[in-house]
Symmetry: C2
Subunit: 111 residues, 2 copies
DNA sequence: TACACCTGTAATATATTTATTACAGGTGTT
DNA sequence: AACACCTGTAATAAATATATTACAGGTGTA
């Protein structure tokens, strides 16, 4: 994800996704390799419902992708994988993005 | 501010500062040049008290610096200036920063 | 003096984010 | 059947972030 251009809303979603210590830790764990939800919850030391909430923000920002598989012993497994990225954040990038920023009262919160 | 290394807390403060549409707009305005508080409030179309709150987050993240001056006609003027930056955000950067991340219940909120 | 600017902050209300609890339903193994 | 895993979500509580209101106090000019 070597994105050159962002809309204001995309950039904002990205920063929002990155603005929480638990999500930074989740990213850090996923940087080591894909992982399934329950195991990720154990490693990140948080409940699954809470983890889902954080993962949804990362997903909304386009930082992770998911993959449903079935394990050898037949269990459904949902894997999360971190998409590679290298963002260059400059005042100019922000200035351009702000032009397309829609400041709204958070209605688009449903996935 | 071509920072190469961040502590976890510094990086988090940075992302928190960037995770609000009004603050992105403030950055965008300041990218054009330094400005004093009242004028900035008019350009950003927000009240001064609210603007102060946002500016404090930018200050906490080390993105702006301030300068008190006295105008020709004797008025006290507080100028805010955007510090230049070019952040390269990668999974590795986050992974390193997370090592020094202190997850706390926000006590250090006083400037 | 009244007015038009400027800085600064405390107290409070509102909105959003974060976190928890309690569920439902699936598989394979003992 | 009971157990140990897995996914998924709704309802709610608690903590923070955002926004407003109401102040106090400074300067120079009409």
């Amino acid at each position: 994800m070597m994105k050159e251009k962002f809309t204001g809303d995309e950039l904002l979603a990205l920063f929002e996704a990155l603005s929480n210590p638990h999500r930074l830790r989740i990213i850090s764990i996923l940087a080591e390799g894909k992982q399934y939800v329950s195991q990720l919850a154990r490693e990140a030391e948080m409940s699954r419902p809470l983890l889902y909430m954080h993962l949804q923000k990362l997903e909304k920002a386009g930082m992770v992708k998911t993959e449903m598989t079935v394990s050898e012993d037949g269990k459904a497994m949902k894997y999360y994988e971190l998409l590679p990225f290298d963002f260059h954040i400059t005042p100019e990038l922000i200035r351009d993005a702000v032009k397309t920023l829609t400041i709204k009262k958070k209605e688009g919160n449903k996935k």
